[in-house]
């Protein structure tokens, strides 16, 4: 037996949900509303539907080759050299994303809690913890994600619930947005699906599929996972938009962060609960980054022909830190992030789609002997 097939549908769901909900969600309402104002909610919805499709594509591929990893079956489908070249591209792409998310996390921390701590320290301590954690097996990785899941989803829903009373439905109208022409919509959707959280969230599935208990667990888990994260994100974006309105959202760097800071428990039971909600974003950054790191380490292991991913957990460390420290400031960071993210759609959506089409056309499967 080559793999320990232990991961259940619930774990698949939680891995995907945790990975998808990341620090980028803090900026999501702003990015979604920038182009089409109040249509931001709808754009987020479209973005999540596309993420759902991307997830299904990868799940479908994985189900056809349940014992192989992504790099293995892609070389079986479109010759080894091409697969390796694209594998390299994927590694570079995910390293960039990982670095940028790490930097974004560092910026959030520095803007809110740790204004005197050098960003290098915030970033390095986080990534070292992640590198150490990623040296565990995939099963342990799944357990870690399982543990964090309630700490991420429950507080976000709590935030949504408490903010319900401050909502103004008129801020969500018109549903399609003012100035909503097709080109604005396309650009908006492009920006949203270019955000790193969706891409890592769907691609992490390629790593965990060989370890899931059965096909059924994979399919149910991935559908549920993207649904849970999709609903959470939609609710959070919807409430943020309804509370602030499109114009106000455009004025804040992280609208959802501002929302978290506005929270007051009913009857003023506790003052300053905002810290609790900031801590949530540390968890969600950790789970997203951990998934990203594991993903890069595993793909690298396969591309460079190693037996396992362990050497790469060390090699990647300085590279990711360097990428994270490269942008001079947050404006540049978002610029790079948009650029890389938008380009990456080709890799993370189109490439798996091509593979799936090829696999269907050539009737190649890896699931029966």
């Amino acid at each position: 037996m080559r793999f320990q097939k232990q991961i259940t549908a619930a774990q698949v769901m939680m891995i995907i949900a945790n990975t998808t909900i990341g620090v980028s969600v803090l900026a999501l309402p702003r990015i979604a509303t920038e182009k089409v104002n109040t249509g931001g909610f709808f754009i987020t919805f479209i973005g999540l539907v596309i993420a759902f499709i991307g997830c299904i594509i990868i799940a479908a591929l994985g189900v056809r080759f349940p014992k192989k990893t992504f790099i293995e079956y892609s070389s079986a489908l479109i010759s080894k050299p091409i697969s390796m070249a694209i594998g390299m591209l994927l590694i570079v792409y995910f390293i960039l994303l990982e670095g940028f998310i790490l930097r974004e996390f560092g910026e959030v921390m520095n803007h809110s809690l740790l204004d005197k701590t050098p960003i290098f320290v915030t970033i390095t301590s986080m990534i070292i913890v992640i590198a150490i954690t990623s040296r565990n097996s995939i099963t342990t990785f799944a357990h870690i994600q399982y543990y964090y899941f309630p700490f991420i989803v429950i507080p976000i829903f709590l935030m949504v619930l408490i903010s319900f009373s401050k909502m103004e439905i008129v801020h969500l109208k018109p549903f399609l947005g003012n100035n909503a022409n097709v080109s604005n919509y396309l650009r908006g959707v492009h920006s949203v699906i270019g955000l790193p959280f969706i891409q890592i969230g769907t691609f992490i599935l390629t790593i965990i599929i060989p370890y899931t208990k059965s096909k059924k667990h994979t399919v149910i888990g991935s559908i549920l996972g993207i649904l849970v994260s999709g609903i959470t994100i939609l609710f959070a974006v919807g409430v943020t938009m309804a509370v602030f309105g499109a114009e106000e959202i455009k004025k804040s760097l992280w609208p959802m962060f501002v929302l978290a800071r506005m929270i007051q428990f009913p009857a003023e039971m506790l003052e300053r609960v905002d810290i609790v909600f900031i801590v949530v974003w540390i968890f969600s950054a950790f789970t997203t980054l951990l998934s990203g790191y594991v993903l890069i380490a595993y793909i690298s292991g396969k591309v460079f022909g190693f037996n396992d991913h362990l050497p790469f957990t060390i090699i990647l460390l300085p590279i990711v830190i360097l990428v994270a420290l490269y942008p001079d400031n947050i404006q540049q960071l978002y610029d790079y992030m948009e650029w890389v993210g938008k380009g990456g759609i080709l890799l993370t959506f189109l490439y798996p789609l091509i593979l799936l089409v090829l696999s269907l056309a050539r009737k190649k499967r890896g699931d029966h002997h």
């Binding site: 109040t38 803007h111 809110s112 809690l113 740790l114 204004d115 005197k116 701590t117 050098p118 320290v121 401050k166 103004e168 008129v170 801020h171 109208k173 018109p174 399609l176 947005g177 003012n178 100035n179 909503a180 509370v243 602030f244 309105g245 114009e247 106000e248 004025k251 804040s252 501002v258 800071r261 506005m262 007051q264 905002d274």
Partner: protein
């Protein structure tokens, strides 16, 4: 070896405490309230720029910031410890002048040993002059500082804002806490719409809406009175309502719980004191000849608290009905007055523009687009108001 390792861990305990951002509570100057005035004094020497040269000013001119600082150890904890001390003892009022708020805050810092901390800022008071000149530069500063919480209140003082910081009401040990209580309790009993800093910013940002702030006045150095609402057009204050108009504004914007009272004449020399319990407003938007038209129906439910004469008997359903009818007319008249006043000043504090934007996006995209354009349209907007009152009860007295 074991010894070395335990030594290493022991050392680590001291070195790796993660205390980069450690802040002792005694070592910071916690600002509870800020008052912003147009400066009449000259700026002293500034740490931010060479003195005597032209430094760009915002449209407000030179500003004076007066801050109320909490004195550590003197501010009583919630509940307990009521031992002695005048209200003014627990705080310290400091002022500084600068070209912008940020500049003034840094000048203020020069007066203080400890680092300024805005995380507990409860209230910002603007003088009317500042509000009328435009509060964009102030919002700019407050939005950028991450410590400032949106649950703080912002208000306009009719005379000079600094006097609010020095007022020392006897009810609370900390004057600013009393001041925020004034607003929070007014919201709770329905006498003032909820409109803290966060909501004010949302209203100012919205294209089809304008912000309003409580308009206060300090009397005899210790009473703080809400004297109406200061309403804005864009980021400039353009007018103020009378105190009684707040109640009608609450009705038009469906603020609940109700709680405001109205004393109105019913027939000759017969006054009725009516207190609202619940308000409901229904906006109906229509397009007429390519122009939006708004019908507002406001329902007010309430009770009769007092009447001025014994000649009037409240034991007859017919009387109650005719009181309701009289009150409906008064409601409609007052609503119309309030709306006309804001229309003259181009200040859509009711957020009708937002409803237009939501309901007729095509019209909005073609004719309006910007907030300024909406203010022009709002000035000539056709708004009809219907008031419907309902008297639920008349108290324990039978007549």
């Amino acid at each position: 070896m074991k010894y070395m390792i335990s030594l290493l861990f022991g050392l680590g305990l001291f070195v790796l405490t993660g205390c980069w951002d450690r802040d002792e509570i005694e070592d910071r100057s916690t600002i509870l309230g800020l008052a912003i005035d147009i400066a009449e004094e000259q700026e002293g020497s500034s740490p931010n720029h060479p003195s005597g040269i032209d430094v760009p000013l915002s449209n407000l001119g030179m500003l004076k910031v007066t801050a109320q600082l909490a004195i550590p150890g003197k501010v009583p904890l919630k509940g307990g410890d009521s031992s002695g001390g005048e209200p003014a003892d627990s705080v310290w009022v400091v002022e500084a002048v600068g070209h912008t708020i940020g500049d003034a805050m840094q000048n203020l810092q020069q007066h203080l040993a400890h680092k300024i901390f805005l995380g507990h800022l409860k209230i910002v008071i603007l003088s009317e002059e500042v509000a009328r000149k435009g509060i964009g530069p102030i919002n700019e500063y407050l939005r950028r500082v991450p410590d400032v919480r949106r649950t703080a209140w912002i208000a306009v003082n009719g005379d000079d804002a600094a006097s609010t910081m020095e007022a020392s009401p006897k009810m609370e040990r900390v004057p600013t806490l009393y001041l925020t209580k004034v607003f929070e309790e007014s919201v709770k009993v329905g006498k003032f719409p909820e409109h803290n800093l966060g909501l004010f910013w949302v209203a100012t940002s919205d294209k089809g809406r304008d912000g309003y702030l409580p308009y206060i006045r300090v009397e005899e150095g210790e009473h703080i009175k809400i004297e109406g609402m200061a309403y804005f057009s864009g980021d400039k204050m353009v007018g103020k309502t009378e105190p009684h108009q707040i109640a009608y504004f609450n009705g038009l914007t469906e603020q609940n719980p109700g709680g405001s009272t109205a004393y109105f004449p019913f027939k000759e020399n017969q006054g009725i004191l009516f207190q609202s319990i619940k308000r409901k407003a229904n906006n109906e938007l229509k397009m007429k000849n390519g122009e939006p038209k708004v019908d507002v129906t406001v329902r007010v439910e309430g009770e009769i608290r007092e009447k001025s004469t014994n000649a009037l008997k409240l034991d007859n359903p017919g009387t109650i009905e005719s009181i309701e009818k009289t009150f409906n007319q008064i409601l409609e008249k007052e609503f119309a007055t309030l709306i006309t006043e804001t229309q003259e000043k181009g200040s859509d504090i009711f957020g009708i523009g937002e409803y237009v934007r939501g309901k007729f996006p095509d019209y909005w995209d073609k004719e309006v687009q910007t907030g300024e354009q909406w203010k022009e349209i709002y000035k000539n907007l056709e708004i009809t108001v219907t008031g419907k009152s309902k008297i639920l009860r008349t108290g324990l007295k039978a007549q």
